[in-house]
Each structure stands twice: as structure tokens, then as C-alpha cells.
Symmetry: C2
Subunit: 116 residues, 2 copies
DNA sequence: TTTAGCGGTTACCAGTTGGTAACCAGAATG
DNA sequence: CATTCTGGTTACCAACTGGTAACCGCTAAA
């Protein structure tokens, strides 16, 4: 029998940053929303048009959550009909490198799955 | 009323790399498993001990999925009792920058939530 | 023969997620 | 007055997720 190695890792015991971050970007549609907002600010119905298949309910839910997390800012223009613009906050902008890294791996995964 | 901007984004229409990658690392416990395996190869029961709270069922499910995705390699040593070692593949190793980026954002999120 | 350890598998079940469809307020338009 | 537009909210419901607990085959040791 192989020697049993002991757990001597230094970092992620309980509420690790990985889970912290993934709980924000992990939900359905969330990455898409962040992606589009990272390009430029967008209005509610623009996001709804940009992201094919998303429902108003989910879009509302995700934007509310992202706003609560400090990732997205909601700005209401008092026009008529009112228009609401969403943009990434500074913190939201810091998600970009992570998103980019994920996208980069995603490309490789697609390439491999496409080959097979 | 604000002018209605048209969707002219270039990249992520359907099965975008973001969703492709997050479908791999998004499930419960998965980031933890990848984290531990990125440090060094580990055996089943080591992972089970390392990750507090995970059940054998979930660990099995995750490892199978990761193996099917080409992220993890399963290696059986014909000892007695048999020992099974899991390690990241080359592709799995490429997940590390993404994981690191996510961890880095997670730290900032924890800092902000800790302040509030 | 019984027990223990490894690496799982299986049945069952509760909670969460996300989908659809209907509905809402306020203001402008016909 | 009815309709349209934006930006949602709500009720309802099916599917998926993940948890618990019991069980399995194999080998070695007591």
C-alpha cells in the first residue's frame, strides 16, 4: 500500500475566495451579463435583446444580485418612459481579468471538444 | 428618451467560452477539488479528508465529470487495498490562471464585504 | 469467520434554480 | 378612453442539485 500523505495545504479552509467569487459569477446568465456590461453600459431592454433566451425575471434577479454585490451600478434617467442604465463598478471591472482568463480556458476546451 | 444603441458586440453568441468553462468549474465543490489537485496529486480519501463536508457521492461525481472533461486524470495503483490517484492533466493545469484570477477577485470581495 | 479499509454506488428526498405567463405603474400617444 | 413603451413583479411549476444513509466487492488482518 502506498504511503498515506498528510494534508498540509496552506490556504482555502472555509469561505475561500474561490467560492466567494464563484457565488457571484456562477449563476445562469451572470457571465453573459458581466461580459456585455464590460464592453459598455447597457439598458435593461438592451441586455434582454443582447442575451438571447434570458427572461425579464432572471435579468432582474441577476442585476439585483450584482448590484447588491457591488459589481454593477444601476442608474435611472428620469425620462419618459424612464430608462435604466447598468454599468460595471470599479469592483466589477476587476472581474474582467478573471473573466478573460476563464474565456481563454474556455477557448481551449472548445477546441479540444471540437477535435474529439 | 436616450438613443437606443444597437447590439454590435463581436464575440459571445451561443455556447460562449465563458459558459463552456464555467460549466466545468461551476458545480459545488469543484473549485475546491481543482485547487487541491493543483497543489499535488491526491487519492480519493485524501481529497475527502482535505475538503471538509464533501460526501463520497459528490466527490465521485465531480471527479468523473472532471475526468470526462479532460481536466483530471485517474490512475489506479494495483496495490491492496487498491489506491486511486487523481491529478490535473495539462489542460487542467491551464485552469490555474483562471482559478488564480478568480481567487484574487474573491479576496477583494471578501475585503469589501468584511468592511461593510 | 469476522472485521476493517478503500473506493466507490444506489435509493430516496428536500431545497434551490430557473422557466413561463400573466400582470403592474406611469407617461405619452392616438 | 385604449394602447404602447419601459422596466419590471408575481404566481406557479418542473427539473436539477446536492444531501444522507445504506450498501457493495475486494483483500488483508485478527
Amino acid at each position: 500500500m502506498l504511503p498515506r500523505r498528510k494534508n498540509l495545504v496552506e490556504e482555502p479552509p472555509e469561505r475561500c475566495p474561490l467560492n466567494e467569487c464563484l457565488s457571484i459569477i456562477g449563476g445562469a446568465w451572470t457571465p453573459n451579463i458581466i461580459w456585455y456590461l464590460s464592453e459598455k453600459p447597457r439598458r435593461f431592454s438592451e441586455l434582454k435583446d443582447d442575451i438571447p433566451g434570458i427572461s425579464a425575471k432572471m435579468l432582474t434577479a441577476r442585476l439585483k444580485r450584482l448590484e447588491a454585490d457591488g459589481v454593477v451600478e444601476r442608474r435611472v434617467e428620469p425620462t419618459s418612459p424612464p430608462s435604466v442604465e447598468y454599468r460595471l463598478t470599479a469592483l466589477g471591472g476587476e472581474l474582467k481579468p478573471a473573466i478573460d482568463a476563464i474565456v481563454s480556458v474556455g477557448h481551449r476546451l472548445k477546441a479540444l471538444n471540437g477535435e474529439g
